[in-house]
Amino acid sequence: MTDDLIDRLAAHLKPVRHMAMQRQLIGALLLSGVLAIVAMLMLLGMRPDMQTAAVTMIYWTKFSYTLALALLGLAATLVLARPGGRTRWPWLAAVALVALLVVLAVIQLARADDMMPMIMGSSIIRSLTYIPILSLPVLLASMLALRRMAPTRPALAGFAAGIMAGSTGAWIYAFACTETGMMFLALWYTLAILIVGAVGAVFGRFFLRW
């Protein structure tokens, strides 16, 4: 029985490329990211004032905050995709990043005449809706890729993929979002990313078992 199995498996052996796992996961991320960008352009369109926004501090804060979180999510996913994988630094770095943004946001608030628009903005519902929607392609693609890997902690791996997907979605959404408050970013973008992370964890729990 077992010998038959071994014969069958050996007969179907195909070479595995170096870094095959990394290639698949990053490939899935890039491909689905492009899809999400197309979705953003069709659903929302670029913000009309892109030219002037591109020189503002808040635009680049949004850009780099979400991109950094996406990369940290990717780093954690790559570790957790392996059997027995465990990692701490991406989580610690992500928490530090959020803390740093909160500090910047408080400084901005202290200088502002009117705090409320900086915190509540005018598009909370819009952000909390579109960031998860724009995260879906990356979330699905990374789940499909992870299914072929060996996460021994499926919920955590799903959470990491969710953070990666949510942050990518937020990064893409930022091209369409005209909010200027750092606190808006720290609260609502982060919340939207965490929601996608939670969805990823639930997904992982049931979908990544093997």
Binding site: A10, P15, P83, R148, W210
Partner: protein, 183 residues
């Protein structure tokens, strides 16, 4: 870190397999089967000992389909162990769900004093610690779990005669030690 000969041999076979060497791969899987069988048998309760072969096959299959998750720069045995452990935990989880018994079928709680069993088992563990692990496992299987010598020998990949000799020597050593003979 690479001093362990088993690790070195298996890792070399794995690296060749990843490059598409079918002969090395066959050798690797056969070798892993031999390591995994006792690994699972030792961990399964006697009632589920027959599932060891299923677990071996499931693990080999997982190794095959998920071989890209092996990092060529890391120890192979650690990767292997993580997969085998995962398969074992998964098995236990599934069994514990399947083993739910309807209340009316359950035996009365006070029918049997389990505590004496536990004490006896602990004494037995302590006694069997005095012989090599393989010998103690052979004794456990044949004398306590009721397996045949052939089965116990197969689980360790040894011949029946060798197993018999090993069991006999182990029991003799234990008798010498615990029957008041010289230490």
């Amino acid at each position: 870190m690479q001093a362990d000969p088993t690790e070195m041999r298996l890792r070399e076979l794995m690296l060749a397999s990843l490059d598409g060497d079918a002969a090395a791969y066959r050798k690797l899987l056969a070798d892993l089967g031999k390591h995994l069988r006792p690994y699972f048998t030792r961990r399964l309760t006697p009632a589920f000992a027959s599932h060891a072969e299923d677990l071996v096959q499931e693990t080999l299959l997982a190794i095959h389909t998920r071989r890209m998750t092996y990092d060529r720069n890391r120890p192979f045995t650690a990767w292997l162990h993580a997969i085998a452990h995962h398969k074992f935990v998964d098995h236990v989880r599934r069994q514990s769900i399947r083993l739910t018994v309807p209340l009316e079928d359950d035996a009365p709680i006070l029918a049997h004093d389990d505590n004496t069993d536990a004490v006896a088992r602990r004494d037995l563990d302590a006694v069997l610690d005095n012989v090599p692990t393989r010998t103690s496992d052979l004794i456990r299987r044949t004398k306590i779990d009721g397996a045949s010598v052939a089965e116990a020998a197969a689980a360790h990949g040894m011949t029946e005669t060798a197993a018999k000799v090993s069991i006999h020597r182990g029991l003799k050593a234990l008798a010498a030690r615990f029957a008041g003979g010289p230490k």
